[in-house]
Amino acid sequence: MATATRRTRPRRLSIWAFYIAPLILLLLVSYFIPLLGVFSWSVTEPELGVSQYLRVMTDPGIHSILLRTLRICALTAVFSVFLAYLLAWHWVYGPPLRRKIIAFAVLVPFWISVLIRAFGWLALLRPQGIINSTLTDVGLISDPLPLVRNELGVIIGMVHFMTPFAVFPLVSVMRQVDLRILQAASGLGARAFRRFFEIFLPLTLPGIIGAFFIVFVFALGFFITPAILGGGRVVMIAEYIYTQMSQTANWGLGAALATTLLGFVLLMTWIVSRFVDFERLAK
């Protein structure tokens, strides 16, 4: 034992020095120190104290932005997870060709810039866009439908962006389902409807919670998509923070909002981690 420890100690040290330490250093320099800076602004700008946090808590304008952000993110997460569940199902259990098509369709969006995607949706959804002009030409509608420059447009764009991210944890959880358990259920007399709602859905619930959480948290920071597809009318918290910081130079308020948002995300991570084993979602 003694020789083993002596022999492994230098190796452990080198693993530390070469592999782990740089990561910690990177996290410190690129995240922790800037975050400390942001936090210090929130309690020092324009003067020392918690006045900015008091404003976050009392300003009805900020409240309505926060509420809208939570609403849009929750709706985005619901729709994305629903779509992703269907995609993941066919990805895992579909015939080979369908699997390939879905894998391709899920991966391709990662290569297309978020800006291009947002403008693509704008082209489709705007009053003179393809959808409205087609519907008008066919005679189904006389006035264009308000599909964009509102919350609907923002949610459409965000669901499109987020669905692939929700697919991965769901695929991972579905792959871990033992199909014999479903066979057992059918052997015991359960039909497809009951097999799904009483067996498959509960077994994949950790993936659903995980995917919902990933989409929701990711969506909280959305900035470009709401700015383009909301047409300036659907301001979400990230855009508002940006405005405070870079246009009105109200650094203290922006920093206080950012810190509040970060605290909220950490709290949610802690709550979700009590129900879901994150490592299972990454297998």
Binding site: D178, R180, A184, S186, G187, G189
Partner: protein, 372 residues
């Protein structure tokens, strides 16, 4: 309360031993590959039938067709005059115990066992009563509220059996339930499955690749190979009178002697091996080999009595197995056939370990196996 006066056990409709399921010419093809070819057999009410065969023999395909997880390409399954061939599993009313048990991990023991009753929309108080009774009968009272992952392998098997038997299924299918377990636990669970079979009185169809498991547990054994049923019969029948060389070798070790000059007489058959006359009771047209199980032959250090079949052998080695010894021998004539013999370890040590005398093996003709 015994099984007989409990309402959990619906005695199978019709007297025990009569045909419950008729399997007619079941064939299964996967593209070019024929997994099952014209399987014909009858499953009798209340019996413990084992489907035995090596992997790839078609036994699991056949079980899947019985259960309804897969459908036959040709042929028919008939139960009580009703065609079952394309009935989906949920409508067959068969219980099933899977390899690894396939318990519902998100449900407690009680909820697992109650699942088939819930599916059948049994009243809640009735469900509760029946679950409590089954839980007691399989000895899981202290674990009813636990989840499957909190149970030992043996306890999980009891949950799987209870869940599969609580709705009084017409048939219980067991798909290699022991194959993932260690030897001691396996033996213990074999006894338990037998006990539950006796107590519940249902028909059990059990799949395994383990011949000792098949011989020790079954009322009848069906031996599968190459997608066909090679032989079906009681354990004694298939072990002592195997129909083919494959069956004989799959069920246990066997010494085989190719013979010439075959004779058929009223007392049995005979043939010559290395100049020795080997006799066997019974008859079989076109036989070419006479065999003997290692435990039925005796080792001699002098020529055996006339009444025995006799072959001169030389010693090659031994393998010690505690109570018994496996003796590795070879015939001394021109055929140089391998012979394995099983004998008492103490007798080996006392009589043969040091001997330099010429050795013989001998066995009574009625113990001979006649093979094509």
């Amino acid at each position: 309360m015994t099984a007989k006066d409990s309402d959990l056990v619906t005695p199978p409709a019709g007297p025990e031993g009569t045909v419950q399921i008729e399997v007619k010419d079941i064939t299964k093809r996967f593209g070019e590959f024929t997994a099952l070819e014209r399987v014909n057999l009858q499953i009798r009410r209340g019996e413990f039938l084992t489907l035995l065969g090596p992997s790839g023999s078609g036994k699991s395909t056949f079980l899947n067709i019985l259960a309804g997880f897969d459908f036959a390409t040709e042929g028919q399954l008939v139960m009580g005059g009703k065609d079952l061939t394309f009935t989906p599993p949920e409508d067959r009313n068969f219980g099933m115990v899977f390899q690894g048990y396939a318990l519902f991990p998100h449900l407690t023991v009680e909820q697992n066992i109650a699942f088939p009753l819930r599916v059948r929309k049994i009243r809640a108080d009735e469900q509760k009563r029946r679950v409590a009774e089954v839980v007691r009968r399989v000895g899981l009272e202290d674990h009813a509220r636990k989840y499957p992952r909190q149970l030992s392998g043996g306890q999980q098997q009891r949950v799987a059996l209870a869940r599969a038997l609580i709705f009084s299924p017409a048939l219980l299918l067991l798909d290699e339930p022991f194959s993932a377990l260690d030897k001691n636990l396996r033996e213990q669970l074999q006894f338990e499955v037998k006990r539950i079979h006796r107590e519940f009185g249902s028909t059990f169809v059990f799949v395994t690749h383990d011949q000792s498991e098949a011989l020790s547990m079954s009322d009848r054994v069906a031996i599968f190979d190459g997608g066909r049923v090679q032989q079906i019969g009681t354990p004694e029948q298939v072990y002592d009178a195997p129909g083919t060389e494959f069956v004989a070798k799959f069920l246990g070790q066997l010494n085989l002697f190719p013979v010439t000059g075959q004779q058929h007489g009223p007392a049995g058959v005979s043939g010559l091996f290395e100049g020795n006359l080997l006799r066997a009771a019974g008859g079989k047209p076109g036989f070419s080999k006479i065999g003997i199980r290692p435990e039925h032959a005796t080792l001699y250090d002098a020529e055996p009595p006339q009444a025995q079949n006799r072959v001169a052998v030389a010693l090659r080695g031994t393998a010690y197995h505690g109570a018994s010894v496996l003796v590795d021998l070879v015939t001394t004539g021109d055929q140089r056939a391998d012979v394995v013999l099983q004998m008492n370890a103490a007798e080996w040590a006392a009589r043969f370990a040091q001997t330099t005398a010429p050795l013989w093996i001998g066995w009574p003709p009625e113990k001979s196996l006649i093979l094509a």
